[in-house]
Amino acid sequence: MSGGPFRTIGRSAIELANHVGGLGLVIARTVRALPRLDPRELVRSVVHFGYDAIPLVVALAVFIGGILVLFANVNVQRYGAKSLIGWAAGYTILREFGPLLTALVMTGRVGARNAAELASMNIGGQLEGLRGVGVDPFALLVAPRVIASTIAIAALGLVVNLVAVFSAAFFGQLIIAVDPGSFFRSLEQMLGWRDALAGSAKMVAFGLTISLISTRAGLVARGGARAVGRVAAVAVVASSALLTALDYGITVALERVL
């Protein structure tokens, strides 16, 4: 009785509308909570999501730099365009791989963590406990997390971009003997504020996506330990799927304006 393509389509449409509506609700309630945002909770959350992840993203950036030099090298050897490697690596780091790879790793480090913690607090009764004593848990706990995780991801993306460029210069010299002077010269000549801005815009959009999806997933969680794990996994997969689609949309849009 539950079969039938129309019924399936109808149900997915309702589910989709439900998800979109849910994200809209998170946005609306966060905006409404802005004037009452608890600064202590905001600072705590930024440290919790961002500061503690700095060693991780520095390592991430070092690897991104190395990987990009290796594959820029494929073309460099073929066309003998050694002088362009700074630009080629820098461009891909700033506009594409820095933001995308950082965001994908952050779906785990920030998204899964946020979803799991909210789910635990939801299932453990902490959120209802606050409502029970006349405190709005959204203003106290949820809104600061939405803001803090967005800020943290965007800021970590900047750290990645900066460190990855230096890492690329280092690996460029180590692997294909491009001296850092000429690396940075080509970077400087051919890259501008537009590329840095495009990368930053992407990071902010990615950060917001991860934080909204993980917040929504955590808030609707029901069940026990199994549910917490499931919610964390769902948040990771849903936000990484959306990230790749968003990446394309933003890239095309940005190349028109920036």
């Binding site: 991780l56 390592a59 991430l60 690897f63 991104i64 190395g66 990987i67 290796l70 594959f71 090298n73 494929v74 073309n75 073929r78 066309y79 365009a81 362009l84 080629a88 461009y91 891909t92 506009r95 594409e96 995308l100 790879l101 994908l104 790793v105 779906t107 785990g108 480090r109 899964a112 963590r113 979803a115 799991a116 913690e117 789910a119 635990s120 299932i123 453990g124 692997i175 051919m190 026990g224 330990a225 199994r226 549910a227 917490v228 794990g229 499931r230 919610v231 964390a232 996994a233 990771v236 997969v237 990484s240 799927a241 790749t244 689609a245 990446d247 394309y248 890239t251 095309v252 190349e255």
Partner: protein
């Protein structure tokens, strides 16, 4: 991070040894190949379609600045896609999906004492939980990477033809693709296939505490899987570069 290379090596050795001694759980392996491979297909396929489109957009932008014609860079792009971009991005997408699913599931088993119950009924978590997932990864991840890379390639061909008016077939021109590139692809695919389930199972096994611990293990599982993919990527690429392959 609660996952070290030494732990992973021990986990691999112990799971393999015990599974071979106790008999390989074939049915569970089939189930895990389905779980790991098939259920990650949508994310990896969809993600790589968008990624192929993104790379075409970047390529067109860069080509405008340097060479002029997008199709000139086609064959070289195809080589980079096989050797580097395909395995890396599809690998990260697979790591995200599989790392999250396995670590969340195994951690929930750990904190709800299902693994202890398994031990008490003369079962062995290494042979029955870890091993099938490792084999599932070794089979499922390379398959995902092949499909993902093919999806990105075809998207590049289509987008460069229809959106940028270039000769798209240049993006599947295998002139520059040699045995070394194919070798690089499969070396990475097998490396990731082994590393992702190992990292995820290890972080699941290390979960201690209540529901919060399951969330923490999932976070660790995803992050460790992704980082291992990037580390292996750099190591394998550098190794092949120095050996001249």
């Amino acid at each position: 991070m609660a996952v070290s290379p030494l732990q992973l090596a021990i986990l691999l050795g112990r799971s393999t040894r015990r599974a071979l001694r106790r008999g390989v759980p074939r049915g569970e392996i089939v189930r895990q190949v389905h779980e790991i491979g098939f259920r990650s297909l949508l994310l990896v396929f969809g993600g790589m379609v968008f990624f192929g489109a993104v790379m075409t957009a970047h390529g067109a932008y860069q080509a405008r600045k340097v060479v002029g014609d997008l199709s000139i860079v086609g064959p070289a792009y195809f080589e980079v896609l096989i050797r580097e971009l395909g395995p890396t991005i599809a690998g990260i997408l697979a790591a995200v999906r599989i790392g999250a699913a396995i670590s969340a599931e195994v951690a929930a088993m750990q904190v709800t004492e299902q693994l202890d119950a398994l031990r008490l009924s003369a079962g062995d978590p290494y042979a029955e939980v870890a091993f099938p997932r490792i084999v599932g990864g070794l089979i499922g991840v390379p398959a995902l990477l092949v499909i993902g890379t093919a999806a990105a390639t075809l998207t590049t061909v289509v987008v460069s033809t229809y959106a940028y008016g270039a000769d798209g077939t240049a993006f599947m021109d295998p002139t520059f693709v040699d045995l070394g590139d194919i070798f690089a692809f499969f070396a990475k695919a097998l490396g990731y296939g082994l590393a992702i389930p190992l990292a995820a199972v290890q972080s699941g096994f290390s979960a201690r505490g209540g529901p919060g611990a399951v969330g923490a293990a999932t976070t660790t599982g995803v992050v460790a899987s992704c980082m291992l993919v990037l580390i292996l990527d750099l190591l394998i690429s550098a190794l092949l570069f120095y050996t001249g392959l």
